[in-house]
């Protein structure tokens, strides 16, 4: 049993979620007003102080996840789509958040130090509120959406973890491997290496010696050719919008858009590569 702000409830997993959810709904207003402060902080601290795999850690994490997801669920979107996936998403969120690595990343992102978390300090409590709720909710939300998309075959190349690779600033950063350029330094590095191919490309478009741009035109509209379209869309300052180009050439916007996307951009890329662009 956990006692949060005077409310006793049993931490159940999976099938117990609905009971907890119902209870929490009934007291959500009360919870919003009371749990959002020191109790969340204490729960997090308890989780952090116990080793991964311990029942104390499991219980604290489970309680945290249930509270946060329930508090945020009222603000959630598409609940009618995602609700069937909540129990599974909750389980996965708990598993994920239970890991030392996740908690460590959370502390880094929130700029908190495990040894110095003070749940009586309004700064620490505020920081934990701000980060913890958003962090857990974003994991839970992603899990729910992933599960829905997986079921509907919408998920393409799913990644195995939703742990941001970057949340630990000490991992995988450039400075750990090779010296990283700085904002003030990198432009100087580039200065001596400029190949200046852009002006050659512009010249090729202008003169079009083999009529490659001019010959690539919209059906029955020789004036709607890639040379004209590229000049209007890319060389002109400021460039014309698709709508303006459509009006100027008196050609339907979708026709212009399709021709640019399917023909002109491809041709531009080809010629740029011939000039040495990569």
């Amino acid at each position: 049993l956990n006692n949060i702000s005077g409310i006793d409830f049993v931490c159940l997993s999976g099938a117990g979620y609905e009971k907890i959810a119902l209870l929490m709904r009934n007291v959500s207003f009360f919870l919003t007003k009371t749990i959002m402060d020191e109790q969340l902080c204490e729960l997090l601290k308890k989780a952090l102080q116990n080793p991964e795999g311990s029942s104390e850690r499991d219980q604290s994490i489970e309680t945290l996840c249930i509270i946060v997801t329930q508090l945020k669920e009222d603000q959630g979107k598409f609940s009618h789509y995602l609700e069937p996936y909540y129990p599974e998403a909750l389980e996965k969120t708990k598993e994920y958040f239970n890991k030392d690595e996740t908690l460590s990343n959370y502390l880094n992102q929130a700029n908190l130090n495990l040894n110095n978390i003070d749940c009586q300090s309004s700064d620490d409590v505020k920081r934990i509120q701000e980060y913890l709720i958003r962090w857990i909710w974003s994991i839970f939300k992603k899990r729910s959406i992933d599960q829905y998309r997986r079921t509907k075959n919408l998920l393409k190349n799913p990644v195995s973890t939703d742990q941001p690779r970057s949340n630990d600033p000490e991992q995988g950063t450039v400075e750990n491997t090779i010296p990283c350029p700085t904002l003030t330094g990198f432009a100087l590095l580039l200065e001596n290496e400029l190949k200046q191919i852009a002006r050659q490309l512009k010249h090729q478009i202008e003169i079009d010696p083999e009529n490659r741009f001019r010959n690539c035109h919209i059906k029955n509209r020789q004036d709607g050719n890639c040379q004209t379209l590229i000049k209007l869309r890319y060389l002109k300052e400021p460039p014309l919008t698709l709508k303006e180009t459509s009006k100027k050439l008196k050609i339907k916007l979708p026709t212009i858009s399709n021709h640019i996307d399917k023909k002109c951009k491809k041709l531009l890329r080809e010629i740029a590569e011939e000039l040495g662009y990569e």
């Binding site: 979107k77 598409f78 009618h80 958003r134 939300k141 959406i145 998309r149 509907k152 919408l154 190349n157 990644v159 939703d162 742990q163 941001p164 690779r165 970057s166 949340n167 600033p169 991992q171 950063t173 450039v174 400075e175 990283c180 700085t182 904002l183 003030t184 990198f186 432009a187 580039l190 200065e191 400029l194 190949k195 200046q196 191919i197 852009a198 002006r199 512009k202 029955n220 400021p238 460039p239 919008t241 698709l242 709508k243 459509s246 009006k247 008196k250 050609i251 339907k252 916007l253 979708p254 026709t255 399709n258 996307d261 951009k265 531009l268 890329r269 010629i271 740029a272 662009y277 990569e278």
Partner: protein, 263 residues
Amino acid sequence: MNTTEEYYYTIALTPEHHQVAKRFAIQQDTTEKAKQVYLNTLAVFAVETFLEEISFPADLEAGDSWNAGIRCFHDVADLLIPDLGKIECRPLLPEETKVSLPSEVLEDRIAYVAVQFQEELDRVQLLGYHPTLDPESPSQELEISQLEPIEDLIDYLFRLELAINDDDVVAKVREKFDTKSIPEIVAQLERIYRTCDESDRRYVASDYLTGLTGVVQENSQTSSVRSFRANSNDFDEDNEEDLTDLAEDLFDKLSEIWGDDDL
């Protein structure tokens, strides 16, 4: 819109990201342009990393920012999510508080993500996102305070994906427009749905759709345009009525999909 205060999402940049950025940059004519291309490329990589983490993988090669012939002329940092649309990844230098939006990135973007650089280029922060802009009066810049929290981008993309994958919505749009336009149209309808009163939505959407059909002045030299019957008053009125009806049908369906949830 919400402010994200200090909760910004950090993305590490790898040596590979820098190698590609440098390769793209040194092909430019001037140092200034090279710097722009370098930062745009890194911004695209950062957002691509984030999109992969939220399981909306992007196709780097498909964007204008990866087209050598376009990035040398345009200030672009776009990233295509297949079947969903383009996200523009805009870099901000340290101390910059506004996201600048050059005219070339104001069309056909479903969202804008602000990428904050610091002096050290080993990492960036994603400050947030902004949904698609009104094509009739797009902003030239966005304040950071106008951005939505970056972790809510997944809600927005999911919202669009639900509509784009709905058979009724697709069939209705296809009656008037080609398939390619569907993601862009859905993003604009989503904007109208989110920002307009229910009573105004269909008229605003009708105006937008009218612009998209590309009603043009008749060109007497071309049969294809003539057959389009442009510049005819009867046609304009019929077309407007058709599009208002289409907009109403679409919003009926979209309200079933999106509900009354406030984005």
